[in-house]
């Protein structure tokens, strides 16, 4: 197809505008971050990005994002399964509500989760006597990051589950497999690449998250302070170079994740097409 002559007009205009707009809004501004760090010597850069308070924030950001994504992997898979396979009253509404974290502004999510999980909140008051403090602790960070990553696993696994052929499951059953065997040997191998993709997306989204976390986290240095907040704090003190240095570390990690996810999805779609 590539060799065939394309008769449609507008290629130069549309591609030209696309590249122009992309450069103006995304590429040039992003390159500013990398160029700004050249103000610093390598040792200065290293001192800033490995300062103990910053390292503690990486640990919280990545640790809480990982846990949030894992919680979403388990419950997202369950949610997708229940939505695809079972019928129950209110299912359509539940299905639509799964996208709420995507549509609800993060600041609203932040104050709502804080209100609910604070010591006197609807859920917090039941957890507090059990010795579990959620709001203003690292657990609060995990709750917020679980919330914002919730749609990803559900929405990547759901279409794959819908597409599964019932025949293979029937064959497994007729050969004497029980439901658990059918799930672990037939269904799970088919959906796990989608599950992994959803997990990676939820993880990537959580790492950069700011709005929903800062309200519930309490933002105590070394304890519940996330990396994006450190960037903001440095900016407010006009320490542009150090803010940018930390931002560049995060950007590099995010880009690596983006490439990993694109690779994953390429692999998933290739797997799907080789099956047919």
């Amino acid at each position: 197809m590539a060799k065939q002559k394309n008769v449609l007009p507008g290629f130069n205009l549309s591609l030209g505008f696309t590249i122009f707009y992309l450069s103006l809004i995304v590429l040039i501004p992003l390159s500013a971050a990398f160029i700004k760090t050249t103000d610093l010597s390598l040792s200065e850069f290293w001192t800033i990005v490995t300062a103990p308070r910053v390292v503690a924030s990486y640990q919280l950001t990545f640790g809480a994002s990982l846990l949030g994504a894992l919680i979403n992997a388990v419950f997202g898979l369950l949610t997708a399964w229940v939505l695809v396979r079972y019928t129950f009253p209110g299912k359509k509404i539940i299905d639509a509500l799964v996208d709420l974290p995507f549509a609800l502004p993060t600041a609203v999510a932040g104050i709502a989760l804080t209100a609910v999980y604070a010591g006197n909140g609807w859920i917090g008051q039941w957890l507090e006597p059990l010795g579990i403090k959620v709001a203003f602790t690292p657990i609060g960070v995990i709750v917020a990051l679980t919330f914002i990553g919730l749609p990803f696993v559900v929405r990547t696994v759901q279409p794959v589950l819908e597409d599964l052929e019932a025949e293979t499951e029937e064959a497994a059953a007729s050969l004497g497999a029980n439901r658990w065997q059918t799930f672990s040997k037939i269904i799970f191998p088919a959906i796990w690449p989608a599950l992994l993709t959803g997990f990676a997306l939820a993880f990537a989204r959580a790492i950069g998250e700011y709005g929903s976390v800062i309200f519930i986290a309490g933002n105590v240095p070394f304890v519940s302070e996330i990396t994006p907040l450190i960037i903001i704090t440095k900016l407010e003190q006009y320490e542009y170079a150090s803010a940018t240095a930390i931002a560049v570390v995060m950007l590099i990690i995010s880009f690596l994740l983006l490439f990993a996810i694109n690779g994953l999805q390429w692999w998933v779609s290739r797997r799907a097409s080789s099956d047919n």
């Binding site: 539940i94 600041a107 950007l251 694109n262 390429w266």
Partner: protein, 307 residues
Amino acid sequence: MPASTSLLTTQTSAVQSTQYSNYQNKVARSRATSEPVWVRWTLIAIVLLFLGLFLIVPLAAVFTEALRKGFDTYITALIDPDALSSIKLTLIAAAIAVPLNLVFGVAAAWAIAKFEFRGKSILITLIDLPFAVSPVIAGLIYVLIFGLQGWVGPTLMDYDVKVIFAIPGIVLATIFVTFPFIARELIPLMQAQGKDEEEAGLVLGASGWQILWRITLPNVKWGLLYGVILTNARAMGEFGAVSVVSGHIRGMTNTLPLHVEILYNEYNYAAAFAVASLLAILALVTLVLKSFIEWKVARNAEIDEKS
């Protein structure tokens, strides 16, 4: 779906995925390929509990907290001049960001879906970049360029043009965070539709713009609308990026989400939740419209199948 290799797939290919007919309609489940009743209901209960704790209870809390001090306090918080000016600024930012990203989305999808060229997959990945960038960093990069110590900030200052701590910065940050949504929705749709109809139009003597207006856009109108709704929701709700560039000047550079933060940090919870409830309503309206579009697309696909 070769083109759906993107970060956005989860969010925006729903228009496509609803085109798959529902699993249950396809196959009548026999006992051998379903779970016992108690397993089914246990799983449903776990899911409802999980979604209840994380979605439904917080959503209900927004409205309860907003109305805690009565309806009068609620209304007072909304007609406060600072609240009204933040509503206005939020609408302005969305009114500029959404159309610009719409034009970009159509142009990018036209180039990527209708033509073959080298570096296409790199271009698609680059369009995805804003997803991988933390909103805080999105704000930061514009400060580095337009701030007082930035690349062009001092020059602009000489001409009395302010970008950072002013409306242009807020608009730019909003454009950045919502950059890929419409493009990402349109690319797979337009690829799936091929270019036969466009070529037929060309043979019949239509110009490029006529083809775009009369053939391509009507064919992807639901996907387009879907992308616009999602972009709009994100544009009006963006917090981190806008927070960095806004400077939080009350009545001047505060958007709705920033106004919520200010009220909350002043311990004015009832007012904070009242303003937040507006944004929650916006989110609910977005979800309803989204479901409507998915239903519409699924129905159109069914009609196509029958005819």
